[in-house]
Amino acid sequence: MFRYLTNHIISMLPTLAVVAVVGFMLVHLTPGDPAVFAAGPEASPAVVEQIRERMGLNRPLHVQFLAWVRNIIVEGNLGVSIQTGEPVSAILASRAEPTIALALTSFFVALVIGVPLGFLGAVQRGRLGDRLIMAVATFGVSVPRFWLGLMLMLLFAVTWRWLPVGGYRPFSDGIVDALRHLVLPALALGMAEAALIARMTRTAMLEVMNEDYVRTARSKGLVEQRVLVKHALRTALIPILTVAGLSLANLLGGSVAIEVVFNYPGIGRGLMTAITRRDYPVVQAVVLLVGVIYMIVNLLIDLAYAGVDPRVRYS
């Protein structure tokens, strides 16, 4: 197990290097000048030049890249924002709580809605219930998230006034208030992911429900519920885990659309702000971070396979 883990982590390094290079090149090749953004549309070229010099952007690209990589490897330092001068690590840290809170709440919504709906769909296969569930799921996958967010906001915040229109409150200021601010964005994000998980659960369940061992279980006279949950669902969990894991990674990487609509200070919104400002060190760090999140979640999914499927062994 330990060896497996070590090998897996070492094999991540080349991927991470590719992410770093591509991330760096993409932001630097995008037209648009951070100094121009900082100085504003009405600044003269001389003022812009003064700012560009201070940002260190007049150095050749490869020098900037090597300095960045060196900083990360040697000093474990992600640098400072060229726009605000704040350390990038502090910027990421300030986004951590809101992002994790929203990702976990949305993930909870996605699982609680997605798995039972998919399960029901499979059991009811071909009947009205199944069709209804699949229609809702298709709608959920297709509908733009920002639109869903705005509709939820219109209904729950504007019409009924049950929940706030947006914003974020840290848990340290009170759990109830924090949750009230989380509900709508988590629903909007979670419902889209739930649709995906429901479809995958249904397909996976249908595949195993015709397997011999399910028939055997039935012929042994087991109660249908037990057959479905204990025998069919457990086997179907592997593809569901894969999809759910990717969903989680996706949610942890932040959602620009939902965070913008709900005025929510997560990592997605931070990335958006950084891109608009061409704040290179911040964009690079977020790209790298999202890459790391995907890798870690993938590793966790691999490990979880062993938990649900006794045939999987890592040694």
């Binding site: 995008t30 037209p31 648009g32 000048d33 121009v36 953004f37 900082a38 100085a39 504003g40 549309p41 009405e42 600044a43 003269s44 070229p45 001389a46 003022v47 812009v48 003064q50 700012i51 201070r54 726009q83 605000t84 001068g85 910027i91 300030s94 920002f146 705005l150 906001m153 219109l154 915040a157 504007v158 006034r161 706030p164 229109v165 947006g166 914003g167 974020y168 913008v260 609509v261 709900f262 005025n263 200070p265 919104r269 931070g270 702000t273 608009t276 400002r277 061409r278």
Partner: protein, 518 residues
């Protein structure tokens, strides 16, 4: 305990007892937290560092300048008490108001003013226009300082009234130099002091209890300022629907930039009120004056006469309340308005456009047009403009991209033929950027010997009548040369709760003298 009480009473007495007339009414208006939704996140707290309005909109509550503008956009003193100009017109002597303190409690002295003026002239585009005329800035005594110029320069007070010309403590300037100020250094003299900034969430200000107001009645950015609300919290809310929804639920008392399509919602809901800001921006097409074929005035004129500005304005700012077809550089109600030079505006003469193109020998070379897509109104107007230009024979190659890219590419003369931007309103004509040869970059802007002479003369002259005559002449030159094609006056739609009191719609919104309903 008693000492604390006394100190408290003293502070209250200071806050209540000075400044322009205080009354029971004022006491009743005090209190509460004002929540404002603004569309973009600022990049810095330093108003000298950037020209962007997102910084200005917030920090104008904390910082003040030596001069400012009143309701009619006339220059009035703010931190300055009195000033004199020497007979030869080269030495200005300023006396600061006595008893003003910064948010950290230190008194405002001439040393702060001198350091601030020097920093302003080094760091900002408008300040740098003064620096070639500058000999020195010197403190005379604690409250008096002088600015000595090489020759008379009429634009000095306008430059000092410009929004970036704020006064910071000299010790802060010593610390930061021309770097941007950080949170701990955001120390001004304004009626509200900066408290905190949570990026992508909000910026918070609280009443500065030591604020000493001017005695005059409030007028525009000038005159007396009363901090009625205890706190002002300005949220960054990028989505226009979210800003409107937040206003409808009462989460925000004021919401900036509401979509033109929602004007009817603001008008229909009794608890909401539309705020129309005029003037806002001069949305303008800028031809590249140094690249063929837009370097040819015939081509630029062909563009102008081909366009139907009524249609363009309707496409972008759908409600007639939100735009005005005006080709002049100022709105008709401004003292600087003149119709001279607007003879080609909105003539909608496609035949003439074709003739001009033929005269110019235009061979159908595609013209690269940089169009920012961040603002829906600009984008929609440009889609119509492209159709209209192509109808007379222009070949347009639109380059749709974000503001930051347009701003970067526009200063590269080889990257485009024409670009679109919306310069903000500037009360002083010599500070209009598009009149300057080096804006937005050397080799792109409008350079014309006759215009340069007029601009210098306009800067030197102090008498309004004489200045206006020069200004008319300058407009005539612009009318002949077609260095830019203004689409018209466009107004900004914002919204507020109907029962929010004391709000004045100026080009830059502010929330002193504003009170919340009880």
């Amino acid at each position: 305990m008693q000492r604390k009480l006394l100190a408290g009473l003293l502070i209250t007495a200071m806050a209540m007892g000075v400044g322009f007339a205080q009354s029971d009414e004022d006491a009743a208006r005090r209190g509460g937290v004002l929540n404002v939704a603004y569309e973009t996140e600022p990049v810095t707290l330093d108003m000298m560092y950037t020209t962007t309005t997102d910084t200005l909109f917030r920090m104008t509550h904390a910082f003040e300048g030596l001069f400012t503008y009143d309701e009619g956009y006339q220059i009035v003193p703010m931190l300055v008490d009195t000033y004199q100009l020497s007979d030869d017109g080269t030495v200005y002597t300023f006396t600061l108001r006595d008893g003003i303190t910064f948010h950290d409690g230190s008194p405002l002295t001439s040393a702060d003013a001198v350091a601030s003026v020097l920093r302003y002239m080094q760091m900002t585009s408008t300040g740098r226009e003064v620096s070639p005329h500058l000999v020195s800035v010197d403190a005379v005594d604690d409250l008096t300082f002088t600015i000595t110029l090489t020759q008379p320069f009429g634009g000095l007070l306008a430059a000092l009234a410009y929004r970036q010309a704020i006064v910071l403590p000299a010790v802060v300037i010593e610390e930061v130099g021309t770097d941007q100020i950080r949170a701990a250094q955001a120390i001004g003299t304004g009626p509200y002091e900066f408290v905190e900034w949570l990026p992508d969430q909000y910026m918070r200000f609280k009443r500065f209890e030591g604020y000493v107001s001017r005695d005059e009645e409030p007028s525009g950015y000038g005159g007396g300022k009363k901090a009625y609300v205890d706190e002002i919290v300005i949220y960054t809310v990028p989505d226009p629907s979210s800003r409107l929804f937040g206003l409808m639920t009462g989460d925000y008392h004021f919401a900036e930039l509401i979509s033109a399509d929602d004007l009817s919602t603001l008008n229909d809901e009794p608890e909401l009120e539309a705020v129309i800001i005029s003037p806002d921006r001069d949305v303008t097409l800028f031809p590249n004056m140094h690249r063929s074929p837009t370097d040819n005035p015939l081509i630029r004129r062909a563009m102008k006469v081909a366009l139907d500005f009524d249609e363009l304005l309707m496409a972008g700012w759908s409600d007639p309340e939100l735009h005005l077809a005006n080709g002049g550089m100022y709105t008709p109600n401004n003292a600087w308005f003149t119709a001279i030079g607007t003879q080609d505006y909105n003539v909608k003469d496609q035949e003439l456009a074709r003739e001009l193109l033929a005269q110019a020998g235009y061979d159908g070379e595609p013209l690269v047009m940089l169009i920012p897509t961040d603002r829906a109104d600009y984008y929609q107007a440009m889609l119509v403009a492209i159709q209209q230009l192509e109808a007379v024979g222009f070949v347009i190659e639109p380059h749709f991209t974000d503001f930051t890219t347009v701003q970067t590419l526009r200063s590269d003369p080889t990257a485009h033929h024409i670009w679109l931007s919306g310069p903000t309103f500037r009360p002083e004509p010599t500070t209009l950027l598009h009149l300057h040869c080096d804006w937005p970059g050397t080799g792109v802007g409008w350079c014309n010997p006759e215009k340069e002479e007029l601009l210098v003369a306009l800067g030197r002259e102090a008498d309004f009548e004489k200045r206006f005559a020069i200004w008319e002449e300058l407009n005539r030159v612009a009318g002949e040369d077609t260095p830019f094609i203004k689409l018209g006056d466009t107004f900004r739609l914002s919204g507020k709760l109907a029962n929010l009191g004391g709000f004045t719609p100026m080009a830059i919104r502010y929330f002193w003298n504003v009170w919340l309903p009880n």
